[in-house]
Amino acid sequence: MHINLRHYLFHNPLFVSGLLLALIFGAVGLFGPLIAPYDPWDMSFSPISSPSAAHILGVNDGGQDIFSELLFAVRNTMVFGLLSGMAALVMGVLAGAAAGWFGGIIDSLLMRFADILLAIPAVMILILAAALFRPSPATLAIILSGLMWPTIAKAIRAQTLSLKNSLHIKAARQMGGGNFYILIRHLLPELYPLYLIGFTAKARMAMFMEASLAFLGLFDPSRKSLGMMISYSIKFYYMDIWWNWIFPPIICLSCLIMTATFLAISLERALDPRLRETLSGRKA
């Protein structure tokens, strides 16, 4: 089944284009500071100049090179998304597996808490925290993941419940395997497709959230981010800066979100058994 899956994924244009974009963004994120021709905080260039050989995308109102700014901004948004998605995944998997495996009071308490978190708009808590404490981006990413884990936990729990009664788990139990052993050795590795879906979906949401919060001015103004670049640049809409200043961060942000969307949707289609047979055109 896993070999089929890989075959299916690599012949799916959506997944392949998502993966390619992800590789490009990964390279930009890793090597961005090396590619950047100038220090993005250097304010010594002549403000609002058009693109030239020295400044590919021109210079912003503060005299900073826009291309260098963009590279750092993409990196910041990505790091925020990956960190938050990763933390949400860990919390969701732990909570979901515990709820599904142990059941009873642990299950109902965890799921009730998950329902409460799902109903609260995450952005409101982030805004309150950001406005009051001015926390670091990493702290905000962790707070966000603390609000995003319930959907992952619910999917993991449902799958754990259905695996709980499968033969090999029963066999492991018969042999005297403890809760912890079965969870780590049998259950968690088997749920791995769900991790991919959950992680990409949450990373997407976190990057969107980061851009929105930055756009609303909730991050430290000296931190480079796509949302903040958009918010600064549209103040100068009446000038001839659309192509070199307003659109680049917009395009980068759209591509970032699209990358995560493509990966999440194609993985979901490939791994959701109910949709799979219908989507791939094969009647199983």
Binding site: D115, L117, A119, I120, P121, A158, M209, Y237, W242
Partner: protein
């Protein structure tokens, strides 16, 4: 009917009410406790970096407001009595600010939510019905692409093209100021101002509804009662909407309430892009001015409204799906 097609059906009635009351209490408690966790002289620090100057008396009042041990219960009663404090940045009571901005946000968000649900739903039903056709593949591809464009991007692009370049729509505001208009003229004016932010939100939220409907509709179409309906010779349009879509509607309705909690982020951003005078713009201005009472009130009150709407949707769900209880 297999039960796991609609796995996220609500639980018992009392359980839901308790969950929502707990969520509301938790939210209120966070908004009560957070400012109290701040170190000593944050009032001076916060207003020091804003452009609002406080008199000696106002400053001591604010400090007292945030540091006194008034207890959670009195705070709760004050919230319920709409006594939300006084905004020093806008020189108005906070509740007055909130309730003058709320109608615009409700108008924008409500219309966007309803239109995008209807569009996404019909699109999803039609696409699933023509499963495997070129029409469906095109729809799915287009919607996937659209899903990848966040509101910030589509909003700014629409604004730049239609308001600033072509000047077909106003770039800011919710109605033309200082003019006397007849009712109908005013309606057109409000609609004209509403168009761009509305379009941005609809573009962002149609894909979610589309995929949800399509995926559940594909499952429903395979059910035997659809085969029976076809065998009886019922016209396809009637099978699609009266027999199949009614079942595909259920997950859309369950998410209708929950989706609002996600939409809030988009609404804040879109209002700021189009300078639409709703809660998002109020919140943005409050953040810029470091106006803590306003930030706190907008955050708390809008979260509570979202909770109330989600709770309300649970009851609608029961009407649509009589199988529950």
């Amino acid at each position: 009917m297999n039960t796991n097609t609609f796995s996220n059906r609500p639980r018992k009635q009392t359980g839901i009410v308790v969950t929502f009351c707990l969520a509301a209490l938790l939210m209120t408690y966070i908004s009560y406790e957070l400012p109290r966790l701040l170190p000593g002289d944050f009032v001076t620090a916060m207003y020091g970096s804003s452009n609002v100057s406080l008199t000696e008396k106002q400053e001591t009042e604010l400090k007292a407001y945030y540091t006194e041990k008034q207890g959670f219960l009195p705070y709760l009663i004050r919230i319920l009595r709409l006594d939300w404090g006084y905004s020093y940045a806008f020189l108005t009571p906070v509740s007055a600010l909130f309730f003058s901005a709320l109608p615009w946000t409700l108008l924008l968000m409500g219309t966007a939510h309803i239109i995008s649900t209807i569009l996404g739903f019909t699109g999803g039903v039609e696409a699933a019905w023509r499963h495997g056709s070129r029409f469906e593949k095109g729809m799915v591809g287009g919607m996937t692409l659209l899903e990848g464009i966040p509101e910030i991007c589509s909003g700014v692009i629409l604004l730049v093209i239609f308001a600033l370049h072509l000047q077909w729509f106003p770039a800011s505001g919710a109605e033309t100021a200082y003019t006397e208009m007849a009712f109908f003229e005013r309606l057109v004016d409000v609609g004209h101002h509403l168009f761009l932010p509305l379009l941005t939100l609809i573009l962002a939220y149609v894909p979610g509804n589309f995929f949800l409907t399509r995926n559940s509709m594909i499952m429903v179409i395979k059910e035997q009662f659809i085969m029976t309906a076809r065998a009886k010779g019922i016209p396809p349009l009637k099978i699609r909407y009266k027999h199949a879509a009614r079942n595909a509607l259920l997950p859309v309705v369950t998410r209708f309430g929950l989706r609002i909690a996600f939409m809030i982020t988009g609404v804040l951003v879109v209002e700021r892009i189009n300078s639409y005078p709703g809660l998002g713009t109020l919140l943005f201005n409050a953040i810029q001015a470091r106006d803590l009472p306003v930030i706190q009130a907008v955050v708390l009150a809008s979260s509570l409204i979202v909770l109330a709407v989600i709770l309300g949707m649970e009851y609608v769900y029961r009407i649509i799906d009589p199988r529950i209880e």
